[in-house]
């Protein structure tokens, strides 16, 4: 009897010790809901420590698709958003979830595909035309299919091309419902075309036979914006610290840091805040 009692006591003690280490007092932090492209590129690893050093505020990043990021914010589970889907952002603002929307930086989308290029899109600078050729050739195309900013952009391009790609879903058009990186991995495996943001592509290490084929269409412009969440609607939001972060991103210092971020000598995000302060 004694033996089993001490066994239970040991378990309880261990449990208490572990729980105790878990509920250590948390410092000052905000939760940033953002996109896989910004995380996968390494931008946050580079940028956020600077902000934390300056303000003492830790930024905890939850990287999901833009659609899911906006949903997190609508549930009050994030303090600030950094996303890239203007239409979705405007809807979010008009519903009163956001206090302010500031444009921070941009980059562009590119179309990548197999080096053999069965749809002959290499060198085109008209994304809609490229999409038409892919559809005509019934060449494999992998879609994010996850309601992310990139996915929404891709759907707008199909619309511009006048093609109902979803009707081909399951044949040459494959919706994987995954983040950008996972989608690129699938495209590599299927020798397929896909639309990706340039930052994720530049830092992606498993390219296989994929090559960058189409770029430069003005429609491929990709704007990122930071949105503070409305504390009236979501009382748990840390509004003042979130504002400090949003203001810092568009400040001269934040903008300069974003512009100086490079991978293999290539800049991945171009700061374009309209009203740099400080």
């Amino acid at each position: 009897m004694k033996g089993s009692l001490s066994w239970v006591r040991l378990l309880l003690l261990l449990g208490t010790a572990i729980v105790a280490t878990l509920v250590h007092p948390a410092g000052r932090f905000i939760t940033l809901a953002s996109t896989t492209s910004t995380q996968n590129s390494g931008l946050f690893d580079y940028l956020l420590p600077e902000f934390t050093r300056k303000t003492g505020i830790e930024v905890r990043v939850v990287a999901v698709g833009t659609g899911q990021a906006i949903e997190l914010a609508e549930s009050g589970d994030a303090d600030v958003l950094l996303v890239h889907d203007r239409a979705g952002e405007m809807k979010f603002m008009s519903e009163g979830h956001g206090v302010s929307r500031r444009e921070v930086m941009y980059n562009d989308y590119v179309i990548v595909g197999p080096g053999s290029d069965p749809a002959a899109v290499r060198g085109l600078n008209d994304a809609a035309q490229a999409f038409r050729r892919i559809a005509d050739a019934a060449a494999n195309f992998v879609s994010r299919g996850d309601d992310s900013g990139t996915n929404r952009q891709e759907l707008r391009l199909w619309e511009a091309a006048g093609i109902d790609a979803k009707s081909a879903s399951g044949s040459w058009y494959k919706e994987v419902g995954a983040g950008m990186g996972a989608t690129l991995n699938t495209a590599v495996g299927l020798d397929a075309y896909t639309l990706t943001d340039r930052a994720t592509w530049a830092t992606f290490r498993n390219r296989g036979d994929l090559e960058l084929l189409v770029e430069g269409d003005p429609r491929l412009f990709n704007q990122y914006a930071v949105i503070e969440i409305n504390p009236v609607l979501h009382p748990a939001v840390k509004a003042s610290d979130a504002r400090l972060f949003a203001e810092w991103l568009v400040s001269r210092e934040g903008q300069a840091l974003i512009g100086a971020f490079t991978i293999d000598g290539q800049a991945l995000f171009f700061p374009n805040a309209t009203t740099p302060e400080n």
């Binding site: 449990g15 572990i18 939760t31 549930s75 995954a178 748990a236």
Partner: protein
């Protein structure tokens, strides 16, 4: 195959450097999964024993349900816990979304059925073996239950280890309720998923090898200590 050798090299390199980020991730994985296992054992072993010992209407249905719940999809568990602890959910004011406690809750829910079902099996077998003696001693069912748990403790270790294996390996639940936040809720499995999505397949695989090694070490530790305890107890 080139990936495999690169993965081994990546794993060896990370371990050799005692990479601080890796250490942090491994420790968090262990903290979350060990906590979940302890809570699940405190719930699941008594529940399993009760299911084995007591006869009540609906018992068979409950046994079948618990067995079926061993196959709970982690993503579904994660989603349910997310809806509970989200700021707009019923437990929103706890403010534990995207924290380790939320991950522990999710993993606990995931493995309580495993520990319960396996414990029930162990205790039921033992109770058939020992029913004569227990009856001759004239002990009540509750008392007999405690005796059986004590007698079965070394076999119950396997039930608990099965739960631990499930907890440390799952990614779906902790990804949703933890958010894979660097230095905060990033564990082995979510780090592997992240590196895969970055196309760092060798690094992802290397982390996978480390996860397997850690899991192996824990199992060996528990197995050997329980073996020593068993010999000491002369059981």
């Amino acid at each position: 195959m080139r990936e495999m050798s690169e993965a081994v090299a990546a794993a060896v390199d990370l371990v050799a450097r005692a990479d601080p980020e890796l250490v942090e991730i491994v420790l968090l994985s262990l903290r979350v999964s060990v906590s979940a296992v302890i809570i699940a054992a405190l719930i699941g072993i008594p529940a399993g024993a009760a299911l084995a010992m007591f006869r009540f209407p609906g018992r068979q249905g409950l046994v079948i349900a618990v067995n079926a719940l061993m196959g709970l999809p982690p993503v579904v568990v994660g989603l349910c816990v997310y809806l509970l602890v989200s700021r707009s959910g019923p437990l929103g004011n706890w403010g534990i979304l995207f924290t380790a406690p939320a991950m522990i809750i999710a993993q606990t829910i995931l493995i309580v059925p495993i520990v319960t079902a396996l414990s029930r099996g162990v205790i039921e077998d033992l109770s058939t073996e020992l029913s004569e003696q227990l009856r001759s001693l004239g002990v009540g069912t509750s008392r007999a239950m405690l005796t059986l748990i004590r007698e079965a403790r070394y076999r119950l270790v396997t039930a608990v280890l099965a739960g631990f294996g499930r907890a440390i390996a799952e990614v779906g639940a902790v990804l949703i309720v933890g958010g894979n936040i660097a230095h905060h809720t990033r564990v082995m499995t979510t780090a592997i998923a992240l590196e895969t999505s970055r196309g760092n397949l060798a690094l992802a695989l290397g982390l996978g090898l480390i996860l397997i090694a850690v899991s192996l070490a824990i199992n060996a530790l528990v197995y050997l200590t329980s073996g020593i305890a068993r010999r000491r107890a002369g059981a």
